[in-house]
Symmetry: C3
């Protein structure tokens, strides 16, 4: 219950574990704010998977596109991006356009009232005066939570969608990554039982951190956590995997694992989190996937990357059918659209439209 927030101070709230915070981000047992990947369970992931597939299918016709655009034209979303972003920003924006949601941006603090000394809380409340959603990326950890806390205490709580905050949380990326993995194995027996190689900067890559946790919902999967020593997966994730009795392997080698991987998830060195003299090396050539490796990969191996990439992923791979990263990128748009319809309850209308179409076409609604 959002309104429970009135009974807890901000500092007490901050001290809660992600698990304990969950109820404050839900309403009537349903996701309201989307802030952490810890809010997701298998049922949610399954629902979003199905919904994303249906939205993609519906949008293939002009008629279907118009149905989708007719769902939420009376909704307005604020894209509040206080950090550079191309993919997350554009995919959220185009997801809104698919659903008919009107958008506005604040991407530059110098043209807003923050230059007049406005507090973060007042900025967020102001957005809530005009919009039905706030989609926000912020360099400061915990700001998305603070926005949710502030709105829960106001007369107009509206959903906060966390589009990346600080080093840790980027929950919609986790959703699209899981979606892409599952979609890649749709005709190959599903994600269960597959071996996933995560490679690169596992310490600071928020996508691989979230993915490692969500993968525990899929019994029988195995993780290979392959990174340079200085960027190995942090202890909290390792403990989580242990607790869930996951099969995993920590490794500082890369190439030797390629033949056994059903999916390879590459990441780049997250050096934007480095500051000043603490600049790390920009790349680790031994953790690069190159065209010459293609011959040793499995025939149906799914190659993924959250993008942008640098030299850790050879662009000569792009046209190989196993390269899924461009689709992964595009999936971000569909999955974010699915999430927004779920939060507002419009997913029900989509399900019912799809079921009608399937009845007419006399084919199965099981997508």
């Amino acid at each position: 219950m959002l309104s429970e927030t009135k009974n807890i101070t901000w500092s007490d709230f901050q001290a809660l574990s992600p698990e304990e915070k969950k109820p404050y981000f839900s309403e009537n047992g349903q996701l309201f704010h989307c802030l952490h990947s810890q809010q997701f369970d298998r049922e949610f992931i399954d629902h979003i998977y199905k919904l994303t597939n249906i939205i993609r299918s519906i949008s293939k016709s002009k008629k279907g596109s118009l149905f989708l655009q007719g769902l939420m034209p009376h909704y307005k979303a604020m894209l509040y991006f206080m950090q550079p972003s191309t993919r997350t920003y554009l995919s959220f924006r185009t997801a809104c356009q698919i659903l008919g949601i009107q958008t506005s941006d604040v991407r530059d603090a110098s043209i807003s009232s923050e230059v007049k000394g406005e507090t973060f809380e007042d900025t967020i409340r102001t957005f809530s005066s005009y919009f039905n959603f706030i989609i926000m990326r912020h360099p400061k950890e915990g700001y998305a939570e603070q926005a949710a806390y502030c709105l829960n205490n106001s007369e107009r709580p509206i959903p906060i969608l966390n589009a990346g905050s600080g080093k840790d949380q980027h929950p919609t990326q986790a959703i699209l990554d899981i979606y892409t993995l599952r979609r890649s194995f749709e005709h190959y027996g599903g994600l269960e039982g597959k071996t996933i190689l995560l490679a690169g900067d596992l310490l600071r890559g928020r996508t691989v951190r979230s993915l490692s946790k969500l993968i525990t919902f899929f019994p029988g999967t195995k993780l290979i956590l392959s990174s340079p020593e200085k960027f190995k997966m942090a202890e909290d994730v390792i403990s989580f995997l242990d607790e869930k009795q996951m099969d995993y392997e920590v490794s500082n080698e890369f190439i030797k694992h390629l033949p056994e991987a059903d999916a390879i998830y590459m990441t780049r060195v997250q050096d934007e989190h480095d500051t000043g003299s603490d600049k790390s090396e920009k790349s680790f050539p031994e953790f690069s996937l190159r065209a010459e490796h293609l011959s040793i990969l499995k025939e149906h191996c799914a190659i993924m990357h959250p993008l942008p990439r640098r030299e850790e992923l050879d662009s000569a791979i792009d046209n190989d059918p196993r390269a899924k990263y461009w689709r992964q990128e595009r999936n971000g748009m569909w999955a974010r659209a699915a999430l927004m319809t779920h939060i507002t309850g419009y997913d029900k209308k989509i399900m019912s439209y799809w079921s009608d179409i399937c009845k007419q076409a006399n084919h199965t609604a099981d997508i």
Copy 2:
């Protein structure tokens, strides 16, 4: 008549009083450009009040929202904001979205042709080639007028809506302030006869300057003009109040007036108008409204603020039912939507739609 502008030079035009300029901003006895609060009369204020209420009511249903969005989808508006703004910008933009008006922005001179040496007049004429409205904020006083003068002399005059120019004029803020005041007293006998306490930087706060003048349309209201000595209300407004035989009191005290106020309008020190070494003090603690004052306020006192605020308005007040500033902010969106439909004549369609709804519902159209 706009076309009369052809017979007067820019320098002669500039020398006219606001009263004398009014006819140049009207067409067929109807507001065309919205530049000064001096253009408004009681009839106009009453009409916008009613219209704003109706638009709010209609928009509550999806069906109503779609009706509103179907009104002006063939209109395009330019949001030309050469100064930082959050509220005015976002409320105009979302007002456009409510009416289906398509928008574009120019908020950064460095990405437009002004960097190639284009004059202000050419920039404005260019906007008139593509848009049906120009909504503009400019740091230079008189620029909105100059834009209107320039377009009146062109083949494609389109309305200029002044969203704040220089230190003086911000007419749509005045509209939403009056709206919020009246709305706050809707069930308490109306604005007439009420005591309004204006507090803070009355010298440079353009909102309190405009409000003081518009309040003269409401017989029996009393103004208390409470400010530090160095920021007291300017002589021109005082003379205007005298001329209208208004009941007012100039005071450099604040707290002692709180118990008698039906509405309290707080403002912040407008130090963005200070330059260089001339920086004033940033705040005057004795002109701050704090949570501990709530107990001495009237039960139905309306607390307002144009926002953004600093320490002159304690955020601990936010959840008190008498705090109206977040609603005031949101009213800006509805009131600006009302203004745009009025200027274009689409208010008639709204009135007729509303009257149909009321007939069907068998309730009164008197809102």
Copy 3:
């Protein structure tokens, strides 16, 4: 055929002549990417002329506007403008709005993933994940071509519309210039046989370079190429005119040619292409059109300018009926809308709608 691009390397492709590149920018004999004015032939120009006129006419009614907005609401366009632009940007954006196309912008590299080291090709492929068009302006010559080459080799080729790249190409400006010329002579026997005076910086003005070439499709026209010695028309254009056996005159005088001109196309010194110490003079007063010249111009002379202007075109001329530059500017919006419907095949729906209207109105569809 776009797919032929797979068989040619980028460096071999770059070495091709514009003529040889044409097939790579077409699909099924139809324009796909719009990159060079060399892609246009008389048939194309005639079609766009007719289509532009029809779109203008249809849009005059609200019903017609709604028909146009209903054409492509399921399309999304990326406006990727890496150089300052007002007119080209706004006219493309409003053209999209006329057709119901949803837009997004990238106008500032500092808020996109380029700051994280993303390559140009990856940026373009990313846009192709979310959009149906890329409308791009880039300071680097050949970047629009490189974008097209890159997408032709991808799984999701989408049209690139070149909105100005480097010093040379700005094909949609050429389309609107030819449109405006023809429209100006609609009631005066058409463009054929007319004398066109091009004046100013002919060396670096990409609009006059393109226009000189397209004018060769209109038999009997004569060009007067009037410029300061240091900015005279480059040899490649002169050779092209010779090859096409055009009637033209190269002159370093201006005023003496005014009485014979049916159209005067003024340009400003393109000093944004100058760098550092190499700054040229900013203006050449003897190549300026001033109000005092109006008396020696032909009665139906069309005065044009691509804008923005400086002192080479006296603003006192603006209200003369022969001044066509504001219309020219507005024509950019209609002509770009026409181009986008042509590339996507939606021009057929427009033609058929128009033909129905004409049947109903019992007037001729010949516009």
